[in-house]
């Protein structure tokens, strides 16, 4: 074993650092570092910068305009961009739909959609979950009925992240009620401008509306928007989920979170000393740091074991469970560190350039918001209970 990066990997890392120092706009990284709201155009700006360098399709092969990077390079990339406080790559087009189209899409679909994802012509959102179909995704009921050259779609999706920015949605729809529920599902691409599509915001605990309900009433979708054969959508869905879980460990986010936690705990005073010097608090910070050091290696071991260009298997469930717990622990410690100023809730102060000063230290509100918001980490992308179920079934064979 060799835990050090090779010369080539170090050169790669340095190249990334140079690029980030050069090209990541300071106004943008400052917003991310301070936990302020990001706008649609913030994300688009960052995508365009990465794309200009050929680095947006991180998991994509070269033939489709991707980086062709191996697992270690992707890991280094994640670490560097999060350390530099770059916005995250919006995953729905690049990391989710892209790989599905490459594997199951028609040539026409690949030619049309893949470049549009990289160029920022399309903002995709993910239409899987429904009010009645969360963990039990296969019970979904949004229906697509064939009518000549079109499907007519009726039903409702929910929890659609950033659906308010999207112009397209990829959906799992029911095209048959025969056989097992999984057998009657199709993977359909829908233009959100089509008459009958309605997006309604859902406000979360932090007061922000990052998710939506998406309603479909007699929405006519051309049949050529079907990906793969009719009633074979479950295969695409499962394939996509394994890709959704790449980078699921969130090591970069955890590192950035830990660094922020240490900054807060150094600034906060308790009993006349910085909180970070309080033995009880310091021990808790050390505990998550120790877990994170091992987690980084668990992550590398797992991604390295996955065959070249392939998504990791059931082991990714371990990364999801442990990685999200770790990030949530870091968020909880940061909230605790903030102390009494976790109470004020002046969300206008999250707007960059707001002329309203934060109440208390400027890190207080973002740290508190992140605690509430990141409760989602253990719920979405397959809840941690579902992941544990996968581990016990497929790895332990219980």
């Amino acid at each position: 074993m060799d835990l050090t990066y090779t010369k080539a990997q170090i050169a790669f890392r340095d190249e990334l650092r140079g690029f980030l120092a050069d090209k990541l706009p300071q106004a943008l990284s400052e917003k991310v570092a301070r936990g302020l709201r990001l706008t649609k155009s913030d994300y688009e700006t960052w995508h365009a910068i990465l794309n200009a360098r050929g680095w947006l399709g991180v998991t994509w092969p070269r033939e489709h305009g991707g980086t062709g990077w191996d697992a270690v390079q992707r890991h280094i990339f994640e670490e560097e961009v999060t350390a530099a406080h770059a916005p995250r790559i919006v995953p729905f087009g690049v990391n989710m739909l892209g790989p599905v189209l490459m594997k199951f899409g028609s040539d026409a679909q690949k030619a049309l959609y893949l470049p549009r994802i990289l160029n920022g012509d399309d903002w995709w959102c993910q239409g899987y979950s429904e009010p009645g179909a969360g963990s039990d995704l296969a019970s979904l009921r949004t229906e697509a009925v064939r009518d000549g050259d079109h499907y007519v779609v009726n039903g409702q999706k929910t929890w659609t992240t950033l659906g308010q920015y999207a112009n397209r949605i990829f959906c799992l729809v029911r095209t048959s009620k025969e056989g097992k529920p999984q057998q009657g599902i199709s993977f359909l691409l829908i233009d959100m401008d089509t008459p009958g599509v309605e997006v309604r915001p859902i406000v979360l605990l932090d007061g922000e509306a990052e998710v939506n309900e998406v309603w479909f009433q007699d929405v006519r979708v051309p049949v050529e928007n079907l990906v793969g054969p009719e009633n074979a959508g479950w295969t695409c869905a499962k394939y996509l989920l394994t890709h959704e879980r790449t980078n699921i460990a969130g090591i970069g986010f955890a590192r950035a979170g830990l660094a922020a936690l240490k900054r807060i705990a150094s600034a906060e005073m308790q009993g006349g000393r910085p909180l970070i010097e309080n033995p009880l608090f310091a021990a808790k910070v050390a505990q998550v740091e120790i877990d994170l050091m091992a987690m980084a290696t668990t992550n590398l071991r797992t991604v390295a074991a996955a065959a070249e260009g392939q998504a990791p298997g059931p082991e990714s469930s371990m990364l999801k469970v442990k990685g999200t717990i770790l990030r949530q622990q870091i968020n909880a410690l940061a909230r605790q560190a903030v102390g009494p100023y976790a109470q004020p809730f002046v969300s206008e102060a999250l707007e960059a350039g707001a002329n309203l000063d934060p109440v208390g230290p400027d890190y207080a509100l973002p740290a508190t918001q992140a605690y509430f918001n990141n409760r989602k980490l253990s719920i979405y992308g397959g809840s941690n209970e579902v992941q544990r179920q996968i581990i016990s079934k497929t790895i332990l064979e219980l």
Partner: protein, 370 residues
């Protein structure tokens, strides 16, 4: 030993629970954050008519309660309803201080429902009771008080404030703290909504006050502040208990009704066991609150050990209840408009006032060593 409530307290509990269940709506809770007062004036009037502020004050001082278990009964119900009110700040905290000063005239106003806030903590004090930088200087005809008080609950609704200030000693000294009665118009405020509902304010004092603004002998206020905060902590922990009970009811209901994979999710053993753990911790929290309320009038070392023990346990239980209930709800548990959202946030904020679980863990150790 006797763990049942007295007949009188049971009646108070019943009528309060019924009243709150009938009158508190999500819209009214949301209004407490938007309303300039930081609470619902109409509900507050009706709660005052029910005698709530008076139930926080002993008969000797013009009330009709004031025992630890009076606090417990009332605040558990307010917690269950998730309703922000000025009761804790005005009747328990400020009222507790006023009861020690012999200012029964002011206490009578509190019992009638007027709001008096206690402005003590400061930007740098975190949870240390003695860390006060606000200064008071004697002038020919009275006092000059100047300083910044942080996250003062109930301040937006207050007609007057009790402000702590140093008349002597260094910033963290135990001696040298004094209390002043300051009229609302003698301070400036920046008020704002709170994560847990209601409003608070940053209070800036730079005021010249008459000689009789001093509420108790100069330099001796810390012991009284500690006693008042012990009562406030008991009230807050009882409120947390009520919040936990309400969250438990919601979550158990959800486990029974939400179906995935063709059955109620409450049939999954993974969730059953975790809900069982939540129940166990809520019962522990109830016992801790009973312990504290039963020691309200004990000698300092014993009372304060119970303050820290209870605040530590309730802080830990609160986090477990919040995180598990959100998780077991799935996506719906993340939303602002489902009933869990407000309750979970309000319960989370308990750990950010009067000391968090770790602060009280260390304090418990220190009190034991002393």
């Amino acid at each position: 030993m006797e763990f049942r409530l007295t007949e009188e307290r049971r009646m108070l509990q019943d009528s309060l629970r019924r009243f709150l269940a009938e009158s508190v709506t999500p819209a009214r809770i949301a209004a407490t954050t938007d309303d300039a007062a930081g609470h619902d004036p109409d509900l507050w009037r009706r709660l005052t008519d029910l005698g709530l502020p008076g139930a926080m004050v002993s008969e000797a001082r013009g009330g009709f309660g004031g025992d630890g278990f009076d606090l417990m009964v009332v605040f558990e119900e307010l917690g269950r309803a998730g309703l922000p009110t000025p009761l804790l700040d005005s009747a328990v905290l400020a009222g507790g201080l006023l009861a020690e000063t012999g200012r029964d005239d002011l206490l009578a106003r509190v019992i009638e429902g007027q709001v008096i806030a206690f402005a003590h903590a400061e930007p740098g004090s975190r949870y240390d009771l003695s860390r006060v930088a606000t200064r008071a200087q004697r002038r020919a005809d009275g006092w000059h008080v100047a300083g910044h008080k942080a996250v003062v609950h109930a301040a937006p609704a207050a007609e007057a404030l009790i402000v702590s200030a140093r008349t002597g000693g260094a910033v963290a000294d135990e001696d040298g703290l004094s209390l002043f009665l300051v009229p609302r118009d003698a301070v400036t405020m920046r008020d704002y909504p709170l994560q847990g509902g209601g409003r608070a304010a940053e209070v800036h004092v730079d005021a010249t006050l008459p000689a009789d603004a001093l509420l108790m002998p100069e330099g001796t206020a810390l012991a009284a502040i500690e006693r008042a905060q012990a009562r406030a902590t008991a009230a807050q922990c009882a409120e947390a208990l009520g919040l936990m009970e309400a969250i438990k009811t919601l979550t158990v209901d959800y486990l029974r009704t939400r179906k995935q994979f063709g059955q109620p999710i409450g049939k999954f053993q993974a969730l059953q066991h975790r809900m069982a753990d939540v129940l166990i911790e809520i019962e522990q929290a109830r016992s801790a609150v009973i312990n504290l309320c039963g020691h309200m009038d004990a000698e300092r070392p014993l009372r304060e050990r119970h303050v820290s023990a209870t605040k530590n346990l309730v802080g830990r239980a609160a986090r477990l209840v919040v995180e598990e209930s959100i998780q077991m709800h799935g996506g719906i548990g993340m939303t602002r408009d489902y009933a869990l959202g407000h309750l979970a946030k309000r319960l989370t904020m308990v750990d950010h006032r009067f000391g968090d679980a770790d602060f009280h863990l260390e304090r418990f150790v220190a009190l034991g060593a002393a």
